[in-house]
């Protein structure tokens, strides 16, 4: 028996040529195909498609045919088809996000996958925070992120696919469940979760689209500032201030600790821009609550990442090492609980 062996890149290339040709109604050639990031399960590929003499700069987002995602991953993140429809709704609503073009079909053999237009810029925090070309952008990014968050939250919920509603109480229960599964006692996280539980904001009458992972590292920016919001896989319905609180978690300042808003500005700059764009006042107490929540959340994610290695689900030194970052959020939590507004 002869088996035709094809490399993963070759398989992706030929499937993309067929799917891109279908979408643009012409024979397509795929060039400069590069795997950008992601683990085995969630992949991003960059490529150019040449169709009828026109070059299209594109991105493929793809989950290869399932090899068994963990229950937890499945329950927290949305699938690619849902992500595509969230992106469509947000992009149509005017959110600065990549334009989603088309979904692949099962016969393409790439698993759950869709293609969007490629947007210029870098997501690398270290470059954005320190490299000379981004000096002017650094003065704008906090404000831009406030405006874009307002646009995300203004997406008409009727245009969205079905999404999980996740309120403060659900989040607290989720983190406690994680701590119980992990098994090691975590006094500082327990203290913070009880603090959060006692002060949790009431659910909104009308929950809004929440990006769910709105932070430096998950958007592209160039010399002019933010060009596109990426990584929509944790989108859900809930309290929009969740996005603003998460953005201010100290870990996303990448060392620029005196600039709480994503490492680029003050909380007030972010809130002012958000208020001007949304017409809604940012409740300071509620924003602080979500920043505290985001800090515990990241701490528990660090422990969960290490657990992926420790449980044998994946073998990864990087994942193992991230477990030792959880204590950074313990430091931050003790500071935050003393700075109660």
């Amino acid at each position: 028996m002869t088996v035709h062996m094809q490399s993963e890149a070759d398989q992706v290339r030929s499937a993309l040529a067929a799917a891109t040709g279908r979408h643009f109604h012409g024979a397509a050639e795929v060039e400069t195909l590069v795997r950008q990031s992601g683990g085995a399960s969630r992949q991003t590929w960059s490529f150019d498609a040449l169709v009828g003499g026109q070059r299209h700069a594109l991105i493929l987002r793809r989950d290869p045919p399932a090899k068994g995602k963990s229950d937890r991953e499945q329950s927290v993140s949305i699938d690619r088809a849902t992500e595509f429809r969230v992106l469509q709704a947000a992009h149509s609503a005017g959110v600065r996000a990549p334009e989603p073009l088309f979904e692949l079909v099962p016969e393409d053999g790439l698993g759950e996958a869709y293609v969007m237009r490629r947007v210029g810029g870098t997501a690398i925090a270290r470059k954005l925070l320190r490299d000379p070309p981004y000096a002017a952008a650094r003065g704008r990014i906090a404000r831009q992120l406030g405006e874009i968050a307002a646009a995300i939250h203004a997406t008409d919920p009727k245009t969205l696919p079905p999404l999980k509603r996740r309120e403060a109480a659900d989040h607290i229960a989720g983190l406690r469940r994680s701590l119980d599964l992990l098994g090691n006692p975590q006094p500082v996280f327990e203290l913070a979760l009880t603090w959060l539980d006692r002060r949790k904001p009431a659910p909104l009458d009308r929950p809004l689209l929440v990006h769910g992972d709105y932070r430096t590292g998950n958007y592209l920016a160039d010399e002019s500032g933010v060009t596109a919001i990426l990584d929509w896989e944790l989108a859900h319905l809930g309290d929009p201030l969740e996005d603003l609180g998460w953005l201010c978690v100290k870990s996303w300042r990448f060392g620029a600790i005196d600039k709480p808003a994503a490492g680029f500005g003050s909380r007030e700059e972010l809130w002012d821009a958000y208020e001007r764009a949304s017409g809604r006042r940012v409740d300071r107490t509620r924003a602080h609550w979500w920043e505290v929540f985001g800090t515990v959340h990241w701490g528990v994610i660090c422990l969960n990442q290490a657990w992926k290695h420790l449980s044998g689900a994946i073998k990864s030194m990087e994942h193992a090492a991230i477990g030792r970052r959880a204590v950074e959020t313990e430091v931050d939590l003790l500071q935050l609980l003393k700075a109660e507004p």
Binding site: P187, L191, T194, I257, M317, E318, E328, V331, L337
Partner: protein, 119 residues
């Protein structure tokens, strides 16, 4: 029987220095992804060096404080489990100054090992 020099700490430092100064630049040229992973590895070795040096005293102090705070004895794990239970149940909270002093001291010792530059 005592080992000869280098001590564990000295040997870990020598390995980490070699990897940082010679292996990382070579890997960055050959394969940036491996260069990044090697930085993670070097950082992990630095954590182990600090843990070997500072860990035993930090654990002993944490144990002493927990015995005083909880008014009972047990292993570090048992005492932390009891403290975590009390905190989830809301039996203690941030208004308890002796609790906060204990957590401040414990987290200060942990971060001094995991990432002393974190502020």
């Amino acid at each position: 029987m005592a080992q000869d020099r280098p001590t564990a700490s000295e040997l870990l430092t020598a390995v980490a220095d070699f990897l940082r100064e010679e292996a990382v630049p070579a890997l960055d040229r050959a394969d940036p992804r491996l260069g990044f992973q090697m930085r993670v590895a070097v950082n992990a070795l630095a954590i182990l060096e600090r843990e070997g040096r500072l860990g035993p005293a930090a654990d002993a102090h944490e144990h002493d404080r927990l015995v005083r705070l909880l008014g009972r004895d047990g292993t570090l794990e048992e005492l932390n489990r009891e403290l975590a239970r009390q905190l989830r149940a809301g039996e203690r909270d941030e208004s308890d100054a002796s609790l906060m002093a204990h957590l401040d001291a414990t987290v200060a010792d942990k971060i001094a090992i995991a990432n002393p530059r974190w502020r």
